[in-house]
Amino acid sequence: MIDFKHRMAAHCENGVISNLLHFHGINLSEAMVFGIGAGIYFTHLPMIKMNGMAVTSFRPLPGTIFKRVTRSLQIDIQVHKFSRPSKAMDALDKNLAKGIPTGMVVGVYHLSYFPAPYRFHFNAHNIVGIGKKEGHYLISDPVMEDIEQLSPEELVQVRYARGTYKPRGKMYYVKSVPEKIDLPGAIKKGIKRTVLEMVRLPGPVIGINGMHYLAKRIEKWPKKGNRYASRNLGQVIRMQEEIGTGGAGFRFLYAAFLQEASAIMQSELLASASEQMTQAGDMWREFAVNAARVCKGRNTSETYSSVANQLREIAGKEEKIYNSLRKL
């Protein structure tokens, strides 16, 4: 077994990157990885359906954070995909024999150690293989508290899960790291990217515009029946509070990043942005509580339109934060 420090993380992708880099001597927290990779995001896509419901996402496409972090810190990584499962497993075995901790993209549905309610067909989970014991693979999964084990059959099954975003046995590892990393530069780049995505990109579905768009759609849902409306609003909240967000759709995680960054950059601006982002996170939390009530139809004073208005308030709040970050 490779001497690999397993640390839990809120979000699997950040966690794996942070743990892999730690193994190679670069000490970055999960929040730092998240910020540099510009992981905060919002989009509402009614034309793309998952299980018959519109997609609302608080994160960019899987793999995006990984790509951005390794690029902006100039870390040399190797990514493989395999057409055949046997080749994928051979390559993994070779890597582990050489003592290289190896990241893998897997589907969640067949992950035997996961709690049942979280096992749905989602194919962009990240885990790290760190060794073999008695024919079983030792797995460092940032979502789990301890090191887990998978049999070779189970590992093949999750690496070759099917459906949206098939992993196709994707694996990756760090080839080499630069001697010195330019952290302030990377932070600046990450923030710039976030500002671009959240406020500057045109079009109705991404960033702040996306929030207003979703608010408008929420107001219209009750017309399509109670069950439909309740399911769809529930889906939004699930995406926001699902395992891996660190709370309130990554807002607290981003606030943690801004706080850390403010110490590194000696910037008052970032410190106050962090406080504002915490407030925005609290607002998201409140939104979730009220929306949950509306979904259950428990309280008549909260309606779909009042929840939509709350979302508009959040959008206004966040817009101010991102605009203030433009001055950095």
């Binding site: 839990m8 998952m50 979502v143 459906g163 709370g247 259950k296």
Partner: protein, 123 residues
Amino acid sequence: MLEGKTREIQYAVDENGKYRAVKSVGWSAKNEIMQQAWEFMHEEIEEAHQWVKEGKKSPVFYYMKKNLMDVKTLSDYMGLWRFQIKRHFNPKTFNKLSAATLNKYVRVFNLKDIQQLKNIPGE
């Protein structure tokens, strides 16, 4: 909702205003929503079960719902077109399927044999 198997990390501010990662078992609003989503899914499985018993749909439909799949996911696992899967929902078409196709369904749904695929469990 985590069944005691793990806890999740949440980021929160401590008394000095510093961010810290804390382990949590989830909070009420979130757990409620998860619970509700879970109930919706069970309702759908129940409904599918009813339809199969009434002969409106084939067992493939029930097992698809039971495995939390949609048509796209199932077609991907089966290596068939989506319209083919949808045809297999029809009991008439289902009864004419070849043993090879049925065996494929058995594998994908993780069942014992064709018998189990054809006879869905009772209540």
